[in-house]
């Protein structure tokens, strides 16, 4: 499939991309997240697309996943309204505060902190400590 963006054309193997997206969506909706951080490597490495194309498009794709996942989880009775009402305003607030801070922090630093944090959390869940 050919994707046109900002005056450039990119040729990609969309079948591969869709299969990857499908599998990723199963795992991520099963575990309750959208799959964003996994879509980016899928599209940059798997499809060979540049970062500036991937960021927005991956967000669009995972929105579908999150939307469908939300509806299905609600169908299965996994939605707690009180819990949601506690977290929802915080998420909105976070999305508002973040850009204010983003100007003063280098994204590379944030990524490095994320790597450490994720590794620690992952090891905790696996029971290593």
């Amino acid at each position: 499939m050919i994707v046109e963006f900002w005056g450039q054309e990119f040729k990609i193997n969309i079948v591969f991309g869709c299969i990857g997206a499908f599998l990723l969506a199963i795992v991520s909706s099963m575990f309750g997240f959208g799959g964003g951080p996994f879509m980016v490597p899928l599209m940059t490495v798997g499809l060979g697309l540049p970062m500036y194309l991937v960021v927005g498009s991956s967000l669009t794709a995972i929105f579908f996943n999150t939307l469908m996942g939300t509806m299905r989880h609600y169908q299965f009775g996994n939605f707690d309204m009180t819990f949601f009402l506690i977290m929802f305003p915080a998420a909105i607030l976070g999305g508002y505060i973040a850009p204010q801070i983003a100007k003063r922090i280098s994204p590379l630093m944030v990524k490095r902190v994320a790597v450490v944090g994720l590794a620690l959390l992952g090891l905790n869940l696996l029971g290593v400590y």
């Binding site: 499939m1 046109e4 963006f5 900002w6 991309g17 869709c18 997206a21 499908f22 990723l24 969506a25 199963i26 795992v27 909706s29 099963m30 997240f33 959208g34 799959g35 964003g36 951080p37 599209m43 540049p50 500036y52 194309l53 960021v55 927005g56 498009s57 967000l59 669009t60 794709a61 579908f64 999150t66 939307l67 996942g69 939300t70 299905r72 989880h73 609600y74 169908q75 996994n78 939605f79 707690d80 309204m81 009180t82 819990f83 949601f84 506690i86 977290m87 915080a90 998420a91 607030l93 976070g94 505060i97 973040a98 204010q100 801070i101 922090i105 994720l118 992952g122 869940l125 696996l126």
Partner: protein
């Protein structure tokens, strides 16, 4: 100065301060309209059934059929507490205390382990009436058996543990709950339904599956069994029944058992929770609302800085910090991040940052995946959830680490330059309109 940022900081401060001072009274939710499962008194005592308001066991009946009685030192606790139980059982026999909450929660158990003939049943058991809190107290002399089962880790069998301690006589309140059984099929898996509904289970099967559902919900042996009753040779006993902070509000019932047919009447303790502790009725846990709020805020900020939604951080942290069921956490976190994703898409589309063709094509593939995924959440246990998530996070950490390596960054420099340039132009164009 009255800037937006300052207003936000002030609101946060007020919220934090308020959590210590505001105490308007009882829990917010109205009492759940479910019947309490009260065991009817058996021929062991000659007194007619007591109402739920009585705090002490009835007076001793005149002739001597074996009986168990006890008294409790308080009838209400605030945000959890310990209730001292002192009583008299049958000399020479063990005594067990069954403690359960009136509030009920959902539980599911997927039976995929090979049975005696080696076949895997693939049956799903579901109930909406499991007590939100449940614990059986056993005498201290059963501690060795308890430790042996605890050492088995995740693979301990609840019914075996109860039987070996003699405590299965005390398992009554959940033994008669309504359970739906479904036969899962591959076709059902594809279209995302639970499967074919099976006929109602008989009493024995209900009791057996109820035990599995109880274990599925509470998982650790420490949450279900407590070897802490002081039992004396003359049959007198004492114990501390602990209603943990974070347990559901409402009535708690305590019944003492010496044998299947020899038990006391139910004593009732009321657990009041006060704001800012709130009861999450679907999750079955109460918590101080400030912490999930701050956690979501922190992760929300961090996620946007990183360029991601944050669901993959919120889920494992919530599940690790509080005794919440992973199904409800997954189902509640997803709509939470949905809105931040939507606002992100809106902002990006304004500066023409999205390729709709690519996004929607991949999005449709994800739509199909998102349909199947949530059904699988209730098929795995909490421990499996945590385990797989641990690996997911390690893989993610590796991916992000690779993104910070010099080689990757050098490759990206050209792309970064193009991106910044187009972003500037697009933002200028959007402003000019």
């Amino acid at each position: 100065m009255i800037t937006k940022k300052n207003i936000i900081l002030i609101l946060l401060f007020l919220l934090a301060a308020g959590s210590y001072y505001i105490r308007p009274g009882d829990a917010q939710d109205p009492a759940a309209p479910t019947e309490a499962t009260q065991p009817a008194p058996v021929a062991a005592t000659a007194v007619p059934p007591a109402t739920g308001a009585e705090a002490t066991a009835p007076a001793v009946a005149p002739p001597q059929p074996p009986t168990v009685t006890f008294t409790i030192d308080k009838t209400a606790v605030d945000n959890g507490g310990a209730v001292t139980v002192k009583g008299q059982g049958v000399p020479g026999k063990s005594v067990y205390l069954e403690v359960w909450s009136e509030r009920q929660v959902k539980s599911s158990f997927f039976d995929s382990r090979p049975d005696k003939d080696g076949k895997r049943p693939y049956k799903l058991y579901l109930t909406h009436s499991l007590p939100a809190s449940y614990k059986i107290y056993v005498p201290k002399d059963k501690k060795e058996v308890f430790d042996a089962f605890k050492a088995k880790g995740r693979g301990w069998a609840y019914s075996d543990a109860l039987k070996e301690m003699g405590a299965d006589v005390a398992y009554s309140a959940p033994a008669t709950i309504e359970i739906d059984a479904y036969q899962s099929t591959i076709m059902a898996g594809i279209i995302g339904s639970r499967g074919d509904k099976l006929p109602t289970l008989d009493d024995k099967e209900t009791r057996r599956r109820a035990m599995q559902l109880t274990k599925a919900r509470f998982s650790g042996i420490g949450r279900l069994i407590s070897p802490s009753i002081d039992l004396n040779a003359d049959g007198s006993f004492a114990a501390k029944v602990d209603i943990p902070q974070g347990a559901a509000p409402g009535k708690y019932f305590i019944v003492a058992y010496a044998d299947k047919a020899i038990h006391s009447q139910a004593a009732v303790v009321e657990n009041n929770i006060n704001f800012p502790m709130m009861y999450l009725s679907n999750a079955g846990t109460s918590l101080n609302l400030l912490w999930p709020f701050l956690l979501t805020l922190a992760i929300g900020i961090f996620g946007v800085l990183m360029g991601a939604g944050g669901g993959f951080l919120l889920n494992p942290i919530l599940v690790s910090l509080w005794p919440l069921p992973h199904t409800v956490v997954a189902g509640t976190v997803m709509p939470t991040v949905l809105f931040s994703q939507a606002s992100g898409i809106y902002n990006y589309s304004k500066i023409k940052f999205i390729s709709w063709k690519l996004g929607i094509t991949m999005g449709l593939a994800m739509l199909a995946g998102g349909f199947i995924g949530p059904k699988l959440t209730e098929l795995i246990t909490l421990d499996q959830f945590k385990f797989v998530f641990g690996w997911i996070l390690l893989i993610l950490a590796a991916l992000m680490f690779w993104q910070t390596t010099p080689g990757y960054i050098a490759n990206n420099k050209k792309e970064q330059a193009i991106m910044t340039e187009f972003k500037k132009r697009a933002e200028a164009a959007a402003k000019a309109k």
